[in-house]
Subunit: 484 residues, 2 copies
């Protein structure tokens, strides 16, 4: 079956669209120790080239240049001489190149950048750099972008940056980040696909990505890997993530809702059944989904207790799947509807503290978090005015654990909408995505904590991805809820 | 005229011949900090590629490798962490590369190497390197190589290494060194052309190079630049060297002698006349060629007094030119014969010390050097048994200044042959070129001082060229004098 699914995926391999960006940079005379900074005018993903030419006299030795690429202005101030993070240092967008002959030089690697800095490491003589070009690549067709107009400049800017983030993550697959990790993750895929339905409407790319996961091995419990590689060969990731596996089910349901491709749904439905059975098999004696914390994601948030949130993902998935099956008159709808009913009751019984009026799971450390409460709202364990109160309290509480990534910010906003708190949802969007916009960015970040813009999940923000797919959904909310 | 001469040169642009070298290197598992050394089995010039593949699991970040190329085994022991020479550090054959995807990776730059070391700087996981290939390039047609057979293993090896040196310097032009400086110098051209007449017999490449210099600007005194660049554009060097300009005349005479192309000789003869008039104009009141030391080369030899040797180059050139013109019955032969006569007399009168029985020029510091005496022998200022005595004494004297480069070693050997000292000439060849062979090399070096193999003209031997054109002439002597 793997070959079949990969074939299906490759039948939807997108065209890579290329645009030559010509920044307005004058011919610059350089000598050893000098540097030049080029502003591309926007954040792009692609390939840099420039012309190196001698000044007074032919440059009689190779010229050694260090070329750094920055996704945001603030990255230009980082000290790149040391790196202390736990992700591979190779992710830092820096290359040292030697140019043997005057002429046009093209760097072979792909970068994600708004700014480029070229430093002269060694040269025997003065030389000039000029004719900088950046061949920007994306599989998004910008001519198909649906319009969004707001009289509010902040909302317009949030939408622009969100769409740009999505565009630059759209390549051969939905990449999580074009700087890092440049691969297809389920959690990012789902959010990119949602934003895409309201912007570029490139449904073939969603289809391709869904088939790429269908081709993956599942682990002994029946769950999907969180990510796959597809170039130069197909290779599924080894980290099987339970909530991401369920997000696959949600992504397929979304796809059916927006595209209505019943044949595809039916073809992938056996995988849906397997994932949902696997999750069902993980319910403990009290009816709560229980897996090791290593097997889930939820958020990059140190010390976060995730069991409640994780169970919320299960309920949320059951809800979406039930609705989708009901809409198509599928006989299995009742099975999932009944599991959802039982799950919601278990959540209420085991995870809710009547005394505190919130989901504070004593079995899991008694932690009060936005994550747990938002996911319980999304899972329908509380509804109506009760859900509104739970959400209002948890996002404003001083002592509640708050999200660190726009991935969890997304589901927090979705929970606010679900709880009918449209005003609070918009305020939250202005605080998070508007907060990033205030830092002067063209793309939204992998991680964002208001008041701590240098936070990194990797102990060193030099490897943070500053154009990260899962943060593109501000456009989805603005457009879906017609906030103008 | 420049365009015309460049056109003539480009009509003789050689074909670059490619051979894939597959070193016998097993698939090697590597992790951060590891390194692998690949032995190409011989010294080649060209392009490296290899296959990077993941081991247990897909390599989920770019892999950063430092790749170093060594022309000789001894270079592998150098400490490359610091460089203190006065030539541009970019000449060191080292590149840091990042590999984004498993597969075959080709380094874009050309290198000169027998050994390659790959060090793992950063990697997120173990990976393998395998399938090393080196695409060797040269414009020499090895199938046209004339045979040389000797029963003496040392002479066979000297010939093999000399021919290999020549082969690897034969590219779009006769390069001085394929590692450094990779350009066409007159002094190197002459010696490469001489060796070539007895080995590959590629006369078109000599023709091309002669026309490339004809296209150059001459300086205010009428001399040629020592070197030219011809890629990607034609650009003549700015260092105009008087002895190299005269070597141009010798190279054209050699070409006529070996190829007999009278039309070409006549076309370039105006340039010959100009150069010889310019030299004649530099004779001082005593009839000695006098130019600033900056305007000549002779040898990389600190503290060397060069006036006598330089005047010897002038006499030697007059001798070759006169012989060539006489052979073709040219009316100008008598002019140069008479200048030669006067020059030899002046040399004897002004530069020779009867008391010391050697050329020890008191006007120029009274230094006793192989350079001065060899060039006087080559210029015919002493002949016969007197020349033999002068040469025998100067090469064996403890206090004489000795040559540092195989360029000057060449003319020393030629002077020994001129003085009829065939046994001493062969001994000298065994001492210099045999000395390099004993170090275990596949090519001859830019600089070689017996007993000091790490000597560098640039304060740091890491930029020394270890495959250098001007050292290839051992094969010329062995074959011309049929030494077997």
């Amino acid at each position: 079956m793997r070959e079949y699914f990969i074939e299906k995926a490759d039948a939807n391999l997108p065209q890579i669209r290329k645009t030559v960006i010509k920044p307005d940079t004058p011919t610059t005379l350089l000598r050893k120790g000098d540097s030049i900074t080029v502003d591309l005018g926007n954040h792009y993903v692609g390939y840099l080239s420039f012309k190196m030419w001698f000044a007074d006299e032919y440059v009689d030795a190779p010229v050694t240049l260090r070329v750094r690429f920055f996704e945001t202005k603030m990255e230009m101030d980082y000290d790149y001489s040391s790196y202390g993070g736990w992700l591979c240092e190779s992710w830092i967008q820096e290359d040292t190149i030697k140019i043997d002959f005057p002429g046009t030089f093209s760097l072979p690697r792909r970068y994600a950048a708004r700014y480029v800095r070229v430093e002269v490491v060694h040269t025997p003589r003065d030389f000039t750099l000029s004719d900088f070009e950046f061949l920007a690549v994306t599989s998004a067709d910008v001519s198909s972008l649906l319009p969004y107009k707001s009289s509010d400049p902040e909302l317009s800017e949030i939408d622009r940056v969100a769409v740009n983030t999505l565009k630059n993550c759209m390549q051969r697959v939905y990449e999580d980040g074009p700087k890092r990790d440049r691969r297809l993750w389920i959690g990012d895929l789902r959010l990119e696909a949602l934003a895409n339905y309201y912007t570029f409407r490139d449904t073939a790319l969603v289809k391709r990505c869904l088939y790429l996961f269908a081709a993956a091995d599942r682990n002994s419990l029946g769950f999907l890997p969180g990510f796959v590689y597809e170039y130069p060969i197909y290779y599924p990731g080894s980290w099987h993530i339970v909530d991401y596996s369920m997000m696959y089910v949600n992504t397929l349901c979304d796809y059916y809702e927006h595209v209505g491709d019943r044949e595809m749904f039916d073809e992938l439905y056996p995988l849906v059944l397997d994932i949902m059975s696997s999750a069902n098999n993980c319910l403990d004696s009290e009816g709560i989904l229980t897996v090791p914390e290593n097997d889930m994601f939820i958020d990059w948030c140190e010390g976060l207790k995730k069991q409640t949130a994780h169970f919320g993902v299960y309920l949320y998935t059951l809800g979406n799947l039930t609705r989708t099956l009901e809409a198509m008159g599928h006989p299995d709808a009742a099975i999932f509807a009944s599991r959802l009913e039982e799950g919601r009751a278990a959540a209420r019984r085991v995870l809710y503290s009547e005394e505190l009026g919130a989901f504070v799971n004593e079995r899991d450390g008694g932690q009060y978090s936005v994550h747990a409460n938002a996911w319980m709202v999304l899972g329908g364990a509380v509804t109506g005015s009760e859900a509104a109160r739970v959400m209002r309290e948890v996002i404003s509480a001083k002592d509640s654990v708050k999200p660190f990534t726009p991935y969890m910010h997304h589901y927090t906003v979705e929970a606010l909408f679900t709880a009918g708190l449209h005003t609070e949802a918009l305020e939250y969007i202005r605080n998070i995505w508007g907060g990033m916009v205030k830092l002067g960015t063209d793309t939204f970040f992998e991680a964002y904590v208001p008041g701590d813009p240098s936070f990194s999940p990797y102990s060193d923000n030099k490897v943070n991805s500053m154009c990260h797919a899962w943060s593109c959904t501000a456009t989805y909310f603005l457009r879906k809820y017609e906030i103008k």
